[in-house]
Each structure stands twice: as C-alpha cells, then as structure tokens.
C-alpha cells in the first residue's frame, strides 16, 4: 500500500506505507485517518529536501526491528549500531544534518533522531568552547561576572 506525504513547500512524495510508518507521527495519523487516504499527509515542519533524505533513510531501514519506546534511552549504556550505510548517510554538511535532526524529531523517526544526535555530539566532542562558538556562530553572552562564576565553578565540575 502506498501513502502520499506533502512537504512544507508543497512537494508530494509517494512511499510504501511500511516505510512511512517508521515515523511514529505518520503511523498515528494513518490510524486516525484511515478513511481519508486520498489526500497527502501534510508535514508542515519538513521541507522537501529534508523529507527526501528522511525517506531515503526510512527506505534503507524499512526492515529493521523496531526499537522499544525508550523513555530513558541512554546511549552510555547501549550504543546503537551504526552501519556503513549510516556512516555514508551522515556525510553531509552540518546545516543539512541539523535540519535532518529537526525533521526526524518532528516526524518522530527515532533511529534517525538517535543517529543525528550522535553525529551532533561527535561534532561537539574534541572542541573548545571558542571553537564551538565559531562553528555554530554563537555569541559569548556571559557577563564578566558570570565568567568569573564559571571559572570558579570549574574547579568542581572537573571532579
């Protein structure tokens, strides 16, 4: 069975139902709107470029066993396996990846969300605060007094 999805900028994608159902949101929508399947499902927060990429991911992972709803998922305890395909998949620029994380979050594609978060964490690792600020174009908005406080707290946080 096919399902049609519409991106925020009006592009329509047709995919297999089981592929679309990797998104928890779409799965729930399909249950509610069973009778009304001729209309495409609107995804108001996801642009066409990102949606295409999400679909590409879901196509590849269509047969993966579903992860249990992991309320307290903690990667420190059980790292998710990342295969070669996933590694290839994440070779995109970081803006694209962050858009993808947001898309995965709004569509609730859990494995992609985990993958993206690990990617984001890998970027941040091995970087100093200054380097992070440059990369993300963040302003250092600490007041001098707050800076002092952080310097002072630093002695405890390295515990």
């Amino acid at each position: 069975m096919k399902v049609t999805l519409e991106s925020s900028d009006g592009q329509v994608f047709t995919v297999d139902k089981e592929v679309a159902e990797l998104s928890v949101i779409i799965k729930e929508m399909l249950v509610i709107e069973q009778a009304n399947q001729d209309h495409p499902i609107p995804l108001l927060n996801v642009g066409a470029v990102e949606l295409a990429k999400v679909i590409e991911y879901c196509e590849h992972h269509r047969n993966d066993p579903t992860i249990d709803d992991d309320e307290d998922y903690d990667s420190r305890k059980k790292p998710i396996e990342m295969d070669d395909w996933d590694k290839q998949f994440t070779i995109v620029n970081k803006e694209m990846m962050f858009e993808l994380i947001l898309a995965a979050n709004s569509m609730q594609v859990k494995p992609l969300l985990h993958l993206g978060c690990r990617y984001a964490a890998d970027i941040v690792k091995r970087m100093s605060p200054t380097e992070i600020r440059d990369l993300f174009q963040i302003d250092d908005d600490f007041t001098p007094e707050e800076q002092d406080k952080i310097e002072w707290e630093k002695q405890w946080t390295k515990l």
Binding site: C117, D122, S128, I132
Partner: protein, 424 residues
C-alpha cells in the same frame, strides 16, 4: 543546542563529562542544557590517577565544606562573624538537586575525610564538622537522588551514618546490601526501607542478643510492617551465635512477599530459617544454593534437606551453583523428591558429587519440569529411559555425561536426538 529541549537532552547523553563541561562554557543557553547532565552523576576518580588523588579528594571535601559554611553563614546573626567565603553560591546548593547518582556511602565517606597531608593551605576557615556530618550535608543537598543499589557496611561512627542513610537513602532504595552484624542497626535500617525495595542481601554475624537496648528495641518491634515489594532475599552470610536467635523471625515476618531465596554461607541456623519460611513466607518457591564466583564451600546433606522443607507451596526452581561441594545423600534426595510435582527448573551445575543419582525418577515424576541441568555419572540409567510421560513439557535439557562407554553410543544418539526434538 538546537533549541529543542528533547534533542538537546539526547545530544547531551552522547557526551562525556569533559565534553559537557566544555559545552557549559559556550553560552547561556548551552549552559542551561548541559548543567543537568554535568551534575547527573558525581564521579570519584579511580585509584590509578594517583598523582591527582589528593587534589580530587580535597576537591570533593572542599566542595562540601564550602557549601556547609555557606549554609551556616545564612544563619549567622552578625555581619562581623561571617567567615570569608566566595561571593558565589556554592555548586552543591545550586546544582545538588540535579544529582541523581552518588558513589556508595563508604566511598563518599573516604572522600570527605580530612586529608592526611594538606598539599596546600586551606583558603577557607576550617570548620569544626565531623566527616559524618559532612556526609549528611551532602545527602541533604542531593534532594533528587535515585538510589538504585546501596551497600551499607558497618563503619565508624555508624550511629550517625546509619541515621543519615535511613533518612536520605533508604526511602528510595531498590537493591540493598547490608554488611552489618549488630541486630539493632539491622532492624533500624530495615524499618526505614519502603515499598521500593525489591532485593535484599545480608552478610551478618550476630554474636549477641538484641536486648541490650530494651526500650529502643521494643519500639522497633512494634513498628512491624511488611516490605511489600521485596521479592528476593539473599543470605550471603548468616551466622547467629546469640541465644534467642530472635532476629530471624523478625526479619522473615517482613519478608512475606519474598519468592526467591538465595543462600551462601549459613551458620547452624538452617532449622530456624526453614521454620520461619514456613510461618512467614508463603510465596517462596525458588531457592539457590551458592553464588557465582565464590570460594568453594561444603553443603551438608541434612542442611539441604532442612532448607528444602521450608516451602509451603513446593519449590518451582531449585539451583545448586557449581562451587558447592555437595555432600548430597539420601536425606536431601528424599527432600527433593517431595517437590517433584511442583518442580519446573532444576539446576545441578557440574562437578557436584551427584554420584550417579538416577535422573530417571526426576524426569518420570515431574510433570511441570521444563528445564533440567545435571551431571550424570550413572549414564546407563539415562539410556534405559527411552520415553517418559512428561517429555513434551521439557524445553531445556543439559546433561553432562562422564565416561561414555563406546558400545552404547547408539543409545546416546537416540537420547540426544529425542532431546533435540524436545528443545526445538
């Protein structure tokens, strides 16, 4: 970081303590995201970092002291008496509520003790506070601790510490291990456990009666309440040389929901345990003798029999770990035979002195048996067992056979083939 709280949370979970400390210094938003994760677990450095150990040790102690003084200062009346402190709110006061996990109390105590050598002069005034009081202060600040498992040993000064543990840790503990021999403290601590307690493990060596403190003891006796969620009781060491042996009825009365009992080293209290199990533990139906990776010890025939007689509804699971040198005679065998009707799982790990116990009676009279692990010397008896009435209920059959006589190999093949069918 991406300004969606759920996503930031997931990213933070991928980061190490060091990474998080870096992130917290990027900007205000990142600081807010990273702080809860940075303080989630208080890590004590491991011993191999010896050069830094003093620094770290003082660091944790200083953090607690700083915080303690800060709190004292709030209550001091006059300006002139206030000690000279940093103008900032100490981290424990500020972030203590984020801390979910702390090291075991014994480790924490060690870290909070005054250093033997001061590597650098203290910047703050040295307050008169005992280590036990400091420990209490730390726990008080960590108002949202999630105590998963807790080990309590009897260290000095135990009176103050036990009160702290009872107040701050026991109300949420799930797995509790007590290595205490004073029955009064045992009762005191167990009285403060709640319905969160699922597993209890004891290492006790009671040498006197708990009656030395009559008034207090009576009070403890009256506060009788069942530990509703307690399902597993482990007696790693249970010696009792007291005359009354009154601790065990007191304990078992509270363990009325226990289903699984694990015993390792028991003094001569098997009969008392069995009697109390019959009286107070109607649901107990799993028993394990011995423990993984433990030194060998000898288990006597009649003691096994005595403990096996303690289940009111019959044992479903009976396990003997492999480090037991079982002197398993006909008394224990007979006691086990009585439980064949209820038996679902029997594990006799290898190297037991299982002396060619004929497995046929077990297979023939246990209609509910789905798992059997055993060690058969008298392998011929097995071969004679071509069929048995309950073979369809059996799911797992592991038998280590010693000394297969070659001419009989064919019979073994038949047995193994049939077993495979059963397992599949």
């Amino acid at each position: 970081m991406l300004e969606v709280p759920e996503i930031d949370e997931m990213i933070c979970k991928e980061l190490s303590h060091h990474n998080l400390a870096q992130c917290a210094r990027v900007c205000k938003k990142w600081h807010r995201s990273a702080i809860p994760h940075l303080w989630h677990t208080l890590i004590i450095p491991t011993k191999h970092q010896e050069d830094e150990i003093y620094e770290h040790q003082e660091s944790l102690r200083n953090m607690a002291l700083e915080d303690y003084l800060y709190e004292q200062q709030l209550h001091l009346p006059s300006e002139g008496m206030k000690p000279q402190l940093s103008p900032f709110m100490p981290p424990l006061a500020k972030y203590g509520h984020w801390i979910r996990q702390l090291p075991q109390p014994a480790v924490l105590m060690h870290e909070l003790e005054p250093p033997i050598v001061f590597s650098q002069p203290l910047e703050m005034p040295d307050p008169e506070i005992t280590t036990a009081e400091l420990l209490r202060h730390v726990y008080k600040r960590c108002s949202n601790l999630q105590v998963h498992s807790l080990d309590v040993t009897e260290y000095y000064p135990f009176g103050d510490i036990s009160k702290t543990i009872a107040e701050f840790l026991l109300p949420t503990v799930r797995i509790l291990s007590l290595h205490i021999s004073d029955p009064w403290y045992l009762k005191y601590l167990l009285n403060h456990c709640t319905d969160t307690l699922v597993e209890l493990s004891l290492r006790v060596n009671i040498i006197y009666d708990a009656t030395r403190n009559d008034k207090k003891d009576q009070q403890l006796q009256q506060e009788s309440k069942t530990l509703e969620s307690l399902k597993k009781l482990t007696l790693e060491k249970a010696y009792d040389d007291s005359e009354s042996k009154s601790f065990w009825p007191w304990l078992f009365e509270r363990c009325s929901h226990v289903e699984r009992l694990e015993v390792v080293h028991l003094g001569q209290i098997h009969q008392i345990l069995a009697d109390n199990m019959l009286t107070y533990m109607p649901n107990v139906n799993e028993i394990r003798f011995g423990k993984d990776q433990h030194e060998d010890y000898i288990l006597y025939d009649k003691d096994v029999a005595t403990l096996l007689s303690g289940s009111r509804q019959g044992w479903k699971v009976v396990e003997f770990k492999q480090n037991i040198i079982l002197i398993f005679g006909h008394v224990a065998q007979e006691a086990l035979t009585k439980h064949f009707p209820t038996l679902e799982k029997l594990i006799l790990d290898d190297r037991h002195d299982f002396w060619g116990y004929d497995l046929a009676p077990i297979l023939l009279s246990s209609p509910n048996l789905h798992s059997l692990t055993a060690f058969a010397i008298d392998s011929l008896s097995l071969c004679s067992l071509k069929t048995w009435p309950y073979e369809t209920t059996l799911r797992v059959l592991k038998i280590r056979i010693v000394d297969i006589p070659r001419p009989d190999l064919r019979d073994y093949e038949i047995l193994i083939l049939r077993t495979l069918r059963v397992v599949s």
